[in-house]
């Protein structure tokens, strides 16, 4: 039994390269390869989490020593995030193969999805700047293909343009770092970035933030998000909402922690402002929408802003303020499940605009209840998971005297509660339009939704144990 994290990248790639050969033999058989690959991935991940402790381990590739060869970084914290991402990917994949396989050129999308999983794992695992660029580009190309799932050619084009601009900026920043510090390894960059001027760090970090903002849905380059969410399929929306954005956010956090950890206070201050601005603008625009997918898209942007600003607040003093950082990680983890549940549930109902979803709870009771669980978790109602992450976040922020931050956060939360409750109210208390055809929801889909809501409720009822696990893992040992 090999216990190398590189398997998480290699196994989906192997499945991806196998698919074209299998396709020539039997067109149906390609359904099962990705599922086997992701199951095996989850199995490997459980083994890895058991074996590796909370401290950071470096895994070399090619047999070359750490600062010189490409290395992957892993500890059980990264393992948990990866586990959640892969689980969501598995759910989306099962749903895709069950329900949307007939939609379009099934071959390309199956392949795109499985390679996207590999790329996303690579983004989370890699400890090398240029390697991160390559995996980001791979994930982005998979994203372009997934975005065209329902003939969304224009959103996909927009996404290509914006994301390519971002990745070219990232390349500029990477090579500038290489020129100054002489290395591409994230951990040793920060050791070698000592005697450079503050102005240089500002320019460099602005480059990186703008570059990484396109994939992680942060402010300057996130114009593609609502358009792509609106036009893509259910699988696509889960992929963008729960899988890709989480991995990209984690990549941003990794770059921040590893490369810029040397106490650049102004950088983290400005990042906090960017994050809070993203939060406010996202919530404010979501407030005006009357289409569930657009609401989730803008709320997803807002959540990204919240997490980034919390992380940068926690990094401000040159060391990591554990309590804030852990709460932000908890929030990141909760968002994966809640957003996935809402997108899946609404996708299964088949309608996205408020007009068509009027009173649908009367006809589809169980599905509506499951969606409501996701919504309540995202807006932070007890006893669901989202409540506890927000609670811990506010508690730790107040303990660190970040009153303004808390005020902005609470103000945005009011917007969020309002528009999500309006959606719930619309589902439950409006008159059902009898002309609207109701979709049948199969047992498999129910099973997927129930498993997601089970996760949310489980975390919701055992917050202290989960938080304890998280803080055990995250405290001190963070990357």
């Amino acid at each position: 039994m090999i216990n190398e994290p590189v398997l998480l990248i290699v196994i989906p790639l192997f499945a991806g390269f196998l698919i074209p050969i299998i396709y020539l033999i039997s067109k149906k058989a390609i359904k099962y390869i990705p599922i086997i690959a992701v199951f095996y991935n989850l199995f490997v991940l459980i083994r890895l989490i058991q074996i590796n402790s909370t401290s950071l381990s470096y895994f070399t590739t090619g047999g070359y020593k750490v600062p010189f060869g490409i290395n992957l970084i892993f500890n059980s914290q990264i393992g948990i995030i990866l586990f959640a991402i892969n689980l969501l990917a598995l759910i989306a994949l099962i749903f895709f193969l069950k329900k949307e396989f007939h939609l379009v050129n099934s071959f390309a999308y199956t392949l795109g999805f499985i390679i996207a999983i590999s790329a996303v794992n690579g983004m989370v695992l890699t400890g090398d700047l240029f390697n991160l660029f390559v995996f980001m580009e791979l994930a982005a190309i998979a994203g372009y293909i997934i975005a065209t799932h329902k003939r969304g050619y224009y959103p996909s084009f927009l996404y290509v343009i914006i994301s390519t601009f971002g990745s070219l900026l990232f390349l500029l920043g990477t090579i500038t770092i290489y020129n100054v510090s002489g290395t591409l390894n994230m951990a040793s960059v920060s050791e070698n970035l000592v005697d450079v001027s503050p102005h240089f760090i500002v320019v460099l970090s602005v480059m990186f933030i703008v570059a990484l903002s396109s994939e992680s849905e942060l402010l300057p380059l996130n114009a593609w998000v609502p358009k792509v969410y609106e036009k893509t399929s259910i699988t696509g929306s889960i992929f963008f909402g729960s899988v890709l954005s989480t991995a990209a956010l984690f990549a941003v956090i990794k770059v921040l922690v590893l490369v810029f950890k040397g106490g650049y206070e102004y950088l983290f201050n400005s990042l906090t402002i960017i994050g809070l601005a993203t939060l406010l603008i996202g919530e404010f625009v979501a407030f005006k929408q009357r289409n569930v997918r657009k609401i989730v898209a803008y709320s997803s942007i807002a959540q990204a802003g919240l997490i980034i600003s919390a992380v940068s607040v926690s990094l401000k003093n040159g060391t990591i303020t554990d309590s804030i950082f852990n709460a932000a990680m908890f929030q990141l983890l909760n968002n994966i499940f809640a957003k996935g549940l809402i997108l899946l549930g609404v996708g299964l109902l088949g309608y996205y605009s408020f007009e068509k979803l009027k009173g649908i709870a009367g006809k589809k009771k169980f599905a509506s209840i499951l969606i409501t669980i996701g919504v309540l978790s995202i807006i932070g109602m007890p006893p669901f998971a989202g409540f506890w992450s927000k609670f811990f976040l506010i508690k730790s922020l107040i303990a660190n005297k970040m009153i303004i931050f808390v005020a902005i956060f609470l103000a945005s939360a009011i917007f969020e509660v309002y528009y999500y409750l309006r959606f719930i109210q619309n589902m439950y208390y409006e008159e059902f339009d009898s002309k609207i055809k109701i979709n049948q929801i199969s047992a498999v889909s129910y099973f997927l939704m129930i498993s997601l809501s089970f996760m949310i409720i489980y975390i919701g009822f055992n917050p202290s144990s989960v938080m304890k696990t998280i803080s055990d893992i995250f405290t001190g040992g963070i990357i």
Binding site: I141, Y144, Y154, I161, F165, L168, L172, T174, K227
Partner: protein
């Protein structure tokens, strides 16, 4: 004068080419032109990367019989490897996005970004 030429050649020139691409992204509305802008940005970035690896009086990083003794008078091979990767990635993206341009034309019957936006919003 020499300094100015240095700065132009190694930093401002490549950055200027990159920014010409950015200018294209900001002003153009034909889909083909946008793809061309991206390619120009790519040229600028590649030039910048190679420029940072360049040294005077150094030779290409290939060992040959003539350059028998190892010395540090080689150009840095890392930026060259990175540029090779980035060129291949850029041609992959270009192939995909050109296919998208064709599909966009098939769907909307126009290549004008603003008109497509108008059709989308209707």
């Amino acid at each position: 004068m020499g300094e100015i030429i240095n700065y132009w050649t190694f930093i401002y020139g490549p950055l200027a080419i990159f920014l010409v691409g950015v200018y294209g992204l900001l002003t153009q509305k034909n889909l083909f032109k946008l793809v061309i802008s991206i390619n120009i940005m790519d040229l600028g970035v590649n030039l910048y990367i190679i420029a940072l690896g360049y040294m005077d009086n150094a030779s290409a990083p290939i060992y040959t019989a003539k350059l028998a003794v190892t010395s540090s008078r080689f150009v840095d091979p890392v930026p060259q490897a990175l540029v090779l990767t980035s060129i291949v990635i850029s041609v992959a993206v270009t192939a995909f996005v050109l296919a998208l341009v064709i599909k966009n034309y098939e769907k909307y019957n126009t290549l004008d970004l603003i008109k497509i936006k108008g059709i989308e919003n209707d």
